[in-house]
Structure formats: C-alpha cells, structure tokens
Symmetry: C2
Subunit: 219 residues, 2 copies
DNA sequence: GTCTATAACCGGATAGAC
DNA sequence: GTCTATCCGGTTATAGAC
C-alpha cells in the first residue's frame, strides 16, 4: 500500500502553519454547500448556486471538488463528525441523569447551532443513506451498541427504570433533531417567528425534564 | 369561459357509479409519485420514473397532472389529510392518558403503514414548506392551538404534570415520525433488518410508557 | 490558481397521429 | 383517452486563455 519511506516524502506537510488557499476555499465552498443542500436537496442543488453563495466562480468549485457528489459526501461526513463529538458528553460520567441529560442538552445545542447540517443528514437518511451507508454500519453502529450496553448496566444496577435502550435513544434523536429539521413548521406554529433564545432554552429544559422523568430520573 | 348550458352537456357525469378511468389512473400515479418523491425528493424525481412505476407512459402522466409541481402538491395534501385523521383520536375522550396515549399509538400506526407519505412531508418541511405553507398556517395552526388549550385545561385541573404543551406535542411528532423518516438508520442499527411487527409494537409501548410517565401519567 | 466559453447531456412538457 | 417523437431549457463538467 505504501512505500517504506512514505512518511519522509512529504516532510514539509507537517510544518505548514497557516491555512492554505485550498483549505480556505474548501471551507468556504463546503459551508455554502451545506446550506444549499439543506434547502433544496442533493438533486435540487446546482453547483452554480453553491459557487455563487460561496463567492467563487463555478469552475473554481469544480477545481476543488471534482464532482457535485464528492462535495456532498465531504459535507455529509463533516456533519457526522460533529454529531459524534456532541455525543461524547454521554460518556463523561457514570451517573445516568447527568449523562443522559448532558447528551440531550448537547444534541439540542447542535440542533440550534447547525440546523443546516442536521437537515442534510436527515435528507440523506430519508433517501436511504446511499452515501453514508458505510459510516452507519461502522462508526454509528459501534457507538450505538456501546451506549445500549451502558444503559443496560444502569438499568440492572437499579439506577433508572427498565426501558428499552433503543427506544430511548431514538426518542432523544427524534425529539432533538425535530427542532432543527422541522424548524420551519415550528416557526409557523410560533406565530411565524423562529424560537428565540429563551424559548429554545425552555424547550431544552422541558425535553430533559419529560424524558428524564419518563425513565425514572425525576429532578 | 362556459356556455350557458354547460351543465347539460355532461348530464351523464352525475350518474357515474364506479371509479372512472380518470380516478383509477390518478390514484395509480399518485401512489407511484408518493414513493418516488419520498426516495429522491422533488427535484430528484423525474416524471419518467413516476410514470414507469405507475405503469403508464410519461405523456399520459402529463395528461392527468399538467406539471410535476401540481402532482407533488396533490400528493402532499393527501398526506396531510390522513395525518389529521390520525390526530382525531386525541379528541375522543377527556381523560388525558387515554387521549395522549391513543394519539401516540395512532401516529405510530401511521408511521408504520405509510412511511413514504411521512417522508414526503418531512422533505417538504425540510425545504421550508413552500408548497404547504398555507396549509400550515390554516389547518395545522388551528388544530395545534386547540390541542394546546386542551392540554392546559388538563394541567390546570391537576390531571397531569405542568409541562409545556408545545414541547410535548413536538416530542410526540419527532419521536413517532422518526420511525418512518429514519427507518433506514433504524434498520441498519437493527442488524440490517427492518423492525418486525413485534419490535414495532414494543417500540410503540415504550414510547407511550416513557412519554406518559414523563408527564405524570404513570400506568 | 482563476475564470470565460462551451461541449455534452438530460428532463419536463407538448404536438399530433391513433 | 393513449402514446411516439421531439423541442427546448437548464445543468454538469471541461477546455483553454490568462
């Protein structure tokens, strides 16, 4: 796969201190792509629209990302990475109330701060996840099984009610992501105004309270 | 626009007892459209693919539905109607546990039986709901406000915990629809098998149990 | 590394015979 | 009411000058 001295071939890479033009432009294009993909889907997005929003010529986009599909793949994978990072709050304690509550809050925070990413993810799953299929089978599945084990241990130790760990995790995902994915519907039902910070904080508290109380972890 | 005796011209229409060719073909095309739209989105769907799945020539589809957008609108509105019908279980009692539990079960049943419809709806909201905007503002908003009032009454009567009605409804929507919209992800995490009837029934029970218990309506 | 011009292709919609 | 053949507009991707 690699030559014996592959590492030596690119010794200069290690010392590159600031962002290259390439890195800057790729970030710019990916941010624009995340927004456009979220708004009109994969097929609905045109490379022209993404390039315009990013402020670069269309041919320039194709210089950095050979095809629209590859750009989409890069965006989706980047969303996945941040998703997992938010999930780590789950592991930092052995107290289920702190762990689950912290996880819910982290997911709500993510829904608030990166709604476009959540929507790209949702659309990808809705389509049957053709692009991130491998990721689902590997990274996500592993994480999921690990969490299920942990929840079962807490249940067996009597620290929380005996609920189906799977149903609990799906409820957390469905509820938290709903605030990003269905934001338009929520805004219409909120008198045509997006939830403000106070309303979102209250929603977060309520979600925590209902779920924690629902699994026997009353405040 | 019409001649004075336009009605007399088609006196036979009134007496047509069984489904006309038109009605039959429209049903066929709409069912195919629901599936294709759910799988590849509005822009990704081609009238050719819809026609092929429906078993009619493409030009025939355009004979019944002048444009792809109109076909999409018809499909989405039809989904909405069934959505509301499922919601009526909410109103048939004054006992919150029966009402909310029944509503959750009806929503889960809908997610199970008509996943494509749920996904078309989800995609439409994800895109910002350009087509069903009016429906959201009128029908859904009215229903939503009515339910909020009812929940508040139950809370004031001490029949359930004082939770934010909005957060509760969003949790029910997000959780139940997750089983239709994220079915692919769920199936991957379930060892590449869709939930079978028993698993789905158990999930329904768990969702009911956690939510009802979370708002002070323990079994 | 940037950008204009263009090639190659595809999908929605229709014309018009049956 | 059905269907084949076709037009037209729009999109991806690239060629090639700067």
């Amino acid at each position: 796969m690699t030559s014996p001295n592959a590492a030596a071939q690119h010794a200069t890479v290690r010392s590159a201190p600031k962002l290259t033009i390439r890195q800057t432009n790729e970030k710019l294009i990916m941010a624009a792509a995340e927004e456009v993909f979220a708004q009109v889907g994969f097929k609905g997005a045109t490379t022209g629209a993404i390039a315009r929003l990013a402020g670069v010529p269309k041919a320039n986009l194709h210089y950095y990302f050979s095809t629209k599909a590859e750009l989409y793949r890069r965006v989706t994978e980047d969303v996945c990475e941040h998703w997992l990072a938010a999930a780590r709050a789950f592991d930092e304690t052995n107290d289920p109330k702190t762990a689950i509550g912290g996880y819910i809050r982290a997911k709500m925070e993510q829904a608030r701060r990166r709604p476009f990413g959540s929507r790209v993810w949702a659309m990808e799953i809705l389509r049957g996840a053709p692009v991130i299929d491998g990721y689902l089978h590997n990274t996500l599945k592993t994480w999921f099984e690990g969490r299920k084990v942990k929840l079962k241990e807490w249940i067996e130790a009597g620290k929380m009610d005996p609920v189906d760990p799977q149903a609990l995790l799906f409820m957390i995902w469905g509820t938290t992501q709903h605030y990003a994915d269905f934001a338009r519907q929520i805004s219409v039902l909120n008198n045509d105004q997006s939830l403000d910070d106070a309303q979102f904080a209250q929603a977060t508290d309520e979600v925590c309270r209902i779920i924690l109380s629902g699994i026997g972890l009353k405040s």
